[in-house]
Symmetry: C2
Subunit: 225 residues, 2 copies
């Protein structure tokens, strides 16, 4: 059997100027040296305990980001996607609050709005497209977007994050009902966001049990929906 | 870098006696020779155009099944899942009508009810668990279960298939409303199922455009659900 090139790639998403951005890095080596690409690299069988671990290591080594909400997306493969030979990439997507990018990421990390991506190498356009589709789809029925907020946030801020991902305005009443249904937030006692033009708003944070696991709304055949 | 063992595994599901069954094969070689396992095998870089192609080839060669509704599930990996070394398996799930198993599958294929699986080797229990969770979840909002029916079917039959997957009775009125919303079926003109104790029922088939792509119900934040 011919050897297969085994890699991981990470679609790292954050909010910047209220719109969804992708983190890219200039490739150091051929192929595509100097071209902006997804953070990725080889799986290291000697040190990685699985592909998720490889993705976290890659993220840490290449972007400086040590923690992120991370989920496996899909595995992309074939003889044509990498000029070096038959390859597969186990792709992950990661969501981080912009504060983390500002404080922890290496200066080499470049943010690009997801609707202004051009010239990505390999099959990275296809990987990014699949990640955006997954994140948008999942955001419509889960707590996923919360991972783009900082540790604490107001409900209007969270609504803005959902709107940035879904790309459309959301009705405030439906939004609050869905969030209540998800039952993932806890109000932080005595903490209000102040100093803005509006009246002070209650600050919330994600309940502990949802920090690595998503909450899903019921959308069964038996539900009212 | 140490070489990584690259394989595919297929969770092949069908309905048998109105309940969900998994197709298994006795392993011919070590490790776990003689043990019932998922159909699987190495990715062949010389002949497979991607991992999906590898999964279809494996299915064809090992079970005799030449066509199935097939989707990528997830990639499982690590140093401990295969005694031969660090390995990854790109897992797929496949849905086929029982007629196809009856007519096309090799005699070696063994069907087991999904709630009575014991002694599966490697991390196959985990792969099967993930596949069942995905299929059940996806069935609650998509046309996925239709791929377990034959080419033509009545609505009561289709409802039975959804119920077998979801493991619970479904309200007939909600079911018909969801199916109408999906808009995936076409009535076959002049064809009624007869010969049963009940009055003749209209026969349906899947619209052509949905035979390899799923239809999803809307479950956005803006929807009534």
């Amino acid at each position: 059997m011919s050897p297969i090139i085994c890699t991981v790639d990470v679609v790292l998403l954050t909010l910047h100027d209220a719109s969804l951005h992708l983190a890219l890095l200039k490739r150091e080596h051929a192929p595509f040296a100097g071209v902006l690409a997804l953070p990725g690299g080889y799986i290291h069988a000697e040190e990685d305990s699985d592909t998720r671990d490889a993705a976290l290591r890659t993220l840490r080594e290449k972007t400086g980001i040590g923690s992120a909400y991370l989920e496996q997306l899909e595995t992309f493969s074939g003889p044509g996607r990498d000029p070096r030979g038959w390859s597969l990439s186990v792709a992950y997507y990661a969501l981080v609050p912009s504060r983390l990018i500002d404080h922890e990421s290496r200066p080499e990390v470049v943010l690009r709005p997801v609707d202004q991506l051009q010239g990505l190498p390999f099959d990275h356009p296809r990987i990014v497209e699949a990640a955006l589709q997954r994140v948008r789809n999942k955001s419509s029925y889960s707590s996923l977007p919360v991972h783009l907020c900082g540790e604490t946030f107001t409900l209007p801020r969270l609504q803005g994050v959902y709107e940035a991902i879904l790309g459309e305005p959301i009705n405030k009443v439906s939004f609050r009902r869905k969030i209540e249904e998800l039952d993932i937030l806890e109000a932080i006692e005595g903490q209000l966001e102040t100093g803005k033009a509006h009246r002070p708003a209650q600050l919330y944070r994600l309940k502990k049990q949802y920090r690595q696991h998503l909450a899903l709304t019921d959308r069964g055949l038996n539900s009212a929906g």
